[in-house]
């Protein structure tokens, strides 16, 4: 800890480490100094002049956002002089600011409104004509209303410093200054909406949310994003059973306020017109609508019959369904159907990873480590596109702590903007490239290795062995795609492993063999679309649980409409092995959560799998699955609880061969993204991975 400095703020004795800014020292003492341009973690501005305070012995008021604490300093934050200056600043701000609060999106959660309420004058003295310019649309999601803008430059900074995108700048001068895209009349960016979220007023508004509701009409549901494997918390604004926006303004959760386009906007698939509302049953070669009763009876009847004659049944689980659902699905498969053939789409080689780590849980990197590690080795992954939260945290680590980043990638990635060293290597050849950095890495205090799905099998073992031999503390994060890839593996949606990586008594067929071996008599697919990539070479009876009529569902005999992650409860485990809890934002008519479908099917088949509600199953998981004895209070308070997976034995080369990286970009998310309007209207989609061309190196 740095030396403590003692100062007095509003009569309170405050101790703060040397170098602390007065505004933060005050905050630590419970004294709130208002500010628009000051923003934690971003470059200092001192432009809004709201945080001016009186410092004894200094004739002028001082900006507390750029003033470091000094021993013996006496600060007044609410003296008549200070309050008068704040009132004056607000009066200036309101001169050209339209008072359209009654229709402004920000009305009710506007920092300017709040400040005026607290310090502003009740009447206005400005009787001149306001400066007005027309509103502009920068992109499908970003609108800019210049008159409302108070030019705090938060948006410019978050885009530049936070994301490394540099899409926004300032044009003109003086009172007619405006925020504008650096690429002319439109944004070329990640469309993450951070600029909108960070805007203290209603200047930047979201194309999805604007003029839809008043903030206080919404219920705010904190849940976990269903898209990539980072597991960001997103707070959904729900009105009348409709999700109107996603943000995380309260900065809770592992992502703080960070969200990418998917977390902030791509919840819209849930209300897509193609959403399955009723079960479908194949009659005369065509899928037709049926009642739940008919559909469940059909499935249960066939499953019972197939089981009785010992038919080959294949089960394909999902990397988006909850841990509870995955756990029950494998029990259903193994116990009720008696089949060992169960698998899921593996986007990363979690098995080889956990085998290489060998139970040394201290080697497992967590989300927070990306922000605190002294050095980062980012290998075989386009972090900014595939893991936007981790990319944001890695950049923040470099900006705030000067972390050294080493990049191994087959093509340009955004992390190269700040990387200490970049090595080009083909996918799968990352270990050799990493080894070439050995001498430099050895000099680091500690290291966090992040690697993508291309590092698998032998390559993965070699990379971990290399890290282990560096002689410094090294942690690893094996990057998988989708909200619950890790949970799917942890819960035993694997042919060779039971939950918690306990060896299965009989090793079943993997996904490829199941589908392409041509020997299945039934295939049960839950929340996955395996036939998008592979062919089914058999005449199996196919049951699909999904939200949409995917390629797989189209071939099904029975399709059961499933609820999305935003329509159910349960837990998911992110790519760093942290468990988080979903909250239900919507109730849907027609579709049912997969867990409920399992329960109904079990009842229909007359098998007893115990109580099948999310809470009871979670209790069972905590009791039975090694590594899942996580801290319940952390989950209950919306936190991310790390799991401690045990040592994994018996991983085969087939397991590694089954890994198929998803290849999703910032603007895709498997089959689901086809049904997100917002993900399909973004013009600036960067195309494939490792092709970053938009942002120049700094």
């Amino acid at each position: 800890m740095a030396d403590l400095v003692t100062l007095t703020i509003d009569g309170k004795t405050v101790k703060a480490p040397a170098g602390t800014l007065v505004i933060n020292a005050a905050k630590s003492a419970g004294i709130d100094i208002p500010a628009f341009c000051y923003y934690d973690g971003l470059a200092l501005q001192a432009a809004c002049r709201m945080c001016l305070v009186e410092v004894e012995g200094v004739p002028k008021l001082m900006a507390s956002c750029t003033l470091p604490v000094r021993e013996g300093m006496v600060v007044h934050t609410e003296s008549p002089k200070v309050v008068a200056s704040r009132k004056a600043m607000l009066e200036f701000l309101l001169t050209n600011h339209p008072l359209d609060c009654p229709v402004c999106d920000k009305g009710g959660e506007c920092e300017l409104q709040d400040a005026v309420f607290r310090y502003g004058a009740g009447e206005g003295r400005f009787t001149e004509i306001k400066h007005h310019v027309e509103e502009k649309q920068f992109s499908p999601v970003v609108f800019y209303d210049a008159p409302r803008c108070i030019l705090c430059y938060r948006c410019v900074r978050i885009c530049d410093e936070g994301l490394g995108v540099k899409a926004l700048g300032v044009i003109q001068r003086g009172a007619v200054s405006e925020i504008a895209p650096n690429s002319g009349d439109h944004l070329e960016c990640d469309e993450c909406g951070a600029c909108i979220d960070i805007c203290p007023v209603g200047a930047l508004t979201s194309g999805i949310y604007r003029y839809h509701t008043r903030p206080w009409e919404m219920k705010h549901v904190g849940t976990i994003c269903t898209h990539c494997g980072d597991g960001c918390k997103t707070t959904l604004g729900v009105r009348e059973n409709e999700i109107i926006r996603g943000n995380n303004r309260d900065r809770s959760g592992i992502n703080g306020e960070f969200l990418c386009i998917k977390g902030r906007y791509a919840f819209d698939f849930v209300s897509h017109g193609d959403r399955l509302r009723k079960p479908l049953v194949k009659r005369n070669g065509k899928l037709v609508e049926a009642t739940w009763k008919e559909a469940l009876e059909t499935v249960a009847g066939r499953f019972r019959e197939l089981k009785e004659r010992g038919a080959r049944i294949g089960v394909v689980g999902s990397n988006r369904t909850t841990n509870e659902e995955n756990y029950v699905l494998q029990r259903f498969a193994r116990e009720a159907l008696g089949t060992p053939h169960i698998d899921h789409h593996r986007t990363a080689d979690i098995l080889s990873f956990l085998a290489a780590v060998g139970g040394r849980t201290e080697l497992l990197g967590r989300t927070e480590d990306v922000y605190t590690a002294k050095a980062l080795l980012i290998a075989g992954v386009d972090l900014a596109q595939q893991h936007p939260l981790l990319a944001f945290q890695a950049r923040a680590n470099w900006r705030h702590h000067g972390a050294k980043a080493f990049v191994v990638a087959p093509g340009p990635v955004r992390e190269e903007q700040y990387a200490a060293r970049v090595v080009r290597a083909k996918l799968g050849e990352e270990p050799a490239a990493a080894e070439s950095l050995g001498e430099e890495l050895k000099k680091c205090e500690d290291l966090l290795v992040l690697f993508g799905g291309s590092v698998r099998g032998e390559a993965l073992r070699r990379l971990v062995a290399f890290g282990d031999g560096l002689g410094i503390p090294v942690k690893y994060i094996c990057l998988a795609d989708y909200a619950n890839s890790r949970g799917a593996a942890d819960m035993g949606l694997l042919p060779g492993f039971l939950p918690g990586y306990q060896p299965a008594p009989e090793r079943g067929m993997g996904l490829a063999e199941m589908l392409e071996g041509g020997r299945l008599e039934a295939l049960w697919v839950v929340g996955a679309n395996p036939l998008r990539r592979r062919k089914l070479n058999s005449n199996a009876f196919v049951v699909v649980q999904d939200l949409f009529l995917t390629e797989t569902a189209q071939l099904a005999d029975v399709v059961l409409p499933a609820a999305s992650a935003y329509e159910k409860t349960g837990t998911v485990t992110n790519t760093c092995g942290e468990v988080q809890r979903l909250s239900r934002a919507l109730t849907v008519m027609g579709p049912k959560p997969d867990l409920e479908i399992f329960a109904l099917l079990a009842a229909e088949m007359g098998v007893d799998l115990g109580p099948l509600d999310a809470k009871s199953v979670w209790a069972e998981i905590r009791g039975n699955v090694p590594g899942y004895q996580v801290a319940e209070p952390v989950l209950m308070t919306g936190g991310a609880a790390p799991t401690s997976p045990p040592k994994v034995d018996g991983v085969t080369e087939e397991d590694a061969a089954l890994v198929e990286p998803s290849g999703d970009t910032l603007f895709t998310s498997g089959s689901v993204s086809r049904y997100s309007k917002i993900l399909n209207v973004i013009r600036e989609a960067p195309g494939g991975l490792f092709q970053e061309k938009r942002t120049k190196l700094t």
Binding site: K60, M89, H131, I150, G169, A175
Partner: protein, 434 residues
Amino acid sequence: MLYNEPSELEVKVLTRRFGLENSQSLDTYLATEGYEGFRKAMEMSPEEIIEEVKASNLRGRGGAGFPTGMKWGFVPRDSDKPKYIVVNADEGEPGTCKDRVLMENDPHQLLEGMAIAALAVGARRGYIYIRGEYRYLIEIMDRAIEEQYRKGYLGKNILGSGLDFDVSTHTGAGSYECGEESALLESLEGKRGQPRIRPPFPAVSGAFQCPTVLNNVETFCNVPAIFRMGARAYAELGTPRNGGTRLFCLSGHINKPGVYELPMGFNLLRMIEEVGGGVRGGKKLKAVIPGGSSCPVLKAEECDVAMDFDSVAKAGSMLGSGGVVVMDETTDIVKVALRLMAFYAHESCGWCVPCREGTLWLKKLLARVDAGEGKPSDIDLIGELAENMLGHTFCPLGDAAAMPTISYVKKFREEFEERLRKASEAAESDLVVL
């Protein structure tokens, strides 16, 4: 070329080569004691050079009047970063036109001053930031620089001093704000011309985050004379704590407007009468802006003042950049206040709230009052808004807009009231009330 006849009262130190044939050429410069100052300085240690500048009582000629030697002394010479010399030639203060004549008539004097500064702080690179409107001066300076390189006065090991020094010009893009030193540095680095958070000051972290000596053209031009004449002789030209001479730019309602070099402490009334030939058309003097538009106005009866930094400050204004604007009795003060506020509203960079919004509001308010549409409360409002800007802005531009405005309202309130009275008379109804 020269724009005005010299005055007999002038003390020609910086302007001694003005009017000489080929005054822009290095040969002329060398023939008239050019680089004598540098030759003396190169025999001195950096500490001695800085001490000499301190002893000369030279104060910054850009406007703030900060002691130059002290500023140079702040540069951490032991820093392993490169050091820079930057010349502020972004002369934009209304009423000021001295740097242009210095660069136009004696470009080598500026370059010699820079080279001495480079010796003092160990700099190897210099920039002359010239406002874009001074296109012709950029060409003159570029020619002078080229000539110096050709003849060994720039480049490697200048005059055997061991000093390697490179200089180039940099063009401003037309923003008044870029005359503020930190905004100038941002602009020099190719960024938007907005001021920086200070501290750190340029001496510690200036151009490209390296230690930087940043002075006005006239300040650098004084330096060769200090070393040529000796600090003491130079200091004695002026008043205590205000060494040397100063270029005053006389403009406005005066018979002989022009740029005149006079000793520091020269009486303002005497300057108007004897140097400037008195108020034009024999009219009565009403007011004087003593140091460029950013300085509070002096009423005629306040003008019996010695023109040095301290005396003018005591009189409630500033010596500023030496732009003396003379206003006769016919001057409409409301229009003056409006014209200047229109300038500041146009030039406010927009970075901070009080300056950005305050200048525009004041401009609109003054325009309304000037147009005869004011309300009685407007006069107090003008003063109050200016007070609300004063001391609250990020950089001095806001203060520069506020201070004179406050002075106009305070010192010429009756003129504002008169304007309102006329307005209300004009608005009287012609209808006969029965």
